[in-house]
């Protein structure tokens, strides 16, 4: 395969490609579904499917092992953010019990070039990220909940993604397999 040079900065093109494709998808969903809540839900579901597949890619590429605790998990998700989106979020706002934390993104590639019209202010545009986190962690036996707390598209200074640990999933073998 001829991996020829191009006069473009491939990294930037790739990130814009993802941003624009995602934008076009959201626009289509808004056309398809009447209700912005349904769109948010659908985006989360879509993210979940992506997370289920991305975790495999992440584990293969980083060769990382088991997490020792939730802090470790948070650090690894942080690495994943840098790998896939090219941004490094801060891990902050730990709950006293240590089962809830937030990722703070100062700039979010997904929302670059994006503006929400007034009638869509309720849309959780970045819900896909929550879905990806939930899907990916479910594949490594962690049941979590994830939601958007702050969103730059709605005038906040940064994007905050909250993650809450629910429980550890036990390995369930499919029937008939030992």
């Amino acid at each position: 395969m001829s991996r020829s040079s191009t006069r473009f900065d491939t990294k930037k093109v790739n990130s814009e490609l993802v941003t624009l494709t995602y934008g076009a998808l959201v626009a289509q969903m808004i056309k398809d579904l009447d209700n912005t809540d349904d769109v948010s839900k659908q985006l989360e579901r879509l993210g979940y499917n992506m997370g289920v597949r991305l975790i495999e890619d992440f584990l293969a590429k980083t060769g990382t092992g088991r997490c020792l605790d939730l802090k470790d998990t948070a650090d690894k998700i942080q690495t994943a953010f840098r790998m896939y989106l090219g941004v490094q979020p801060n891990v902050t706002n730990w709950s006293p019990a240590g089962d809830e934390f937030s990722f703070m993104l100062d700039n979010n590639p997904l929302t670059e070039l994006v503006e929400l019209p007034d009638d869509l202010k309720g849309l959780r545009y970045c819900n896909i990220i929550c879905g990806v986190i939930r899907g990916a962690l479910e594949m490594v036996q962690l049941d979590v909940q994830s939601w958007i707390v702050q969103d730059q598209l709605r005038g906040d200074t940064s994007t905050e993604v909250r993650v809450k640990f629910i429980r550890r999933l036990e390995d369930a073998m499919p029937a008939g397999e030992d």
Binding site: S2, N14, Y22, M83
Partner: protein, 159 residues
Amino acid sequence: MAEETLFEVLHSEIINYVLQNGESRNKDGKDEDLSTIEYIGFSTGYRLIERLTKEMPRFKDELDTMKFICTDFWSAVYKKQIDNLRTNHQGIYVLQDNAFRFLTKISNGKQYLEAAPRYVSFTCGIIRGCLANLNIFCLVTAEVQNMPSCKFHIQVQRT
């Protein structure tokens, strides 16, 4: 490269979403409705090309534009150049990619050929969107005979 995986996963989820959504709307429809996927590609391409070419000099002519799509643009988006560009100089262009990015991981040969249209329509849309923004209005169709190679037929509409 990790961020490339992200795009590939997003691409397949778009297809997944559009097909599921189409299914729930018309149960009897046998033909898959791929025009939505094509349209998502169109709006992506339309916007992407504007950002890519903003610092570039104007293209000489139609063929020059096509060459740009086959080389620089294709390398940026599909990680390789188009392997073969043919034209009849009357508005028909055929772009052949022998290892099309979205098909290389699906099959090597004729297996799953019936699923191939799903994975090329986004790109048909991208090409149509790019050219539309460069003031070339056209019809783009794809032809897959043996995966992972793929031919894109561009038919420029003259008014």
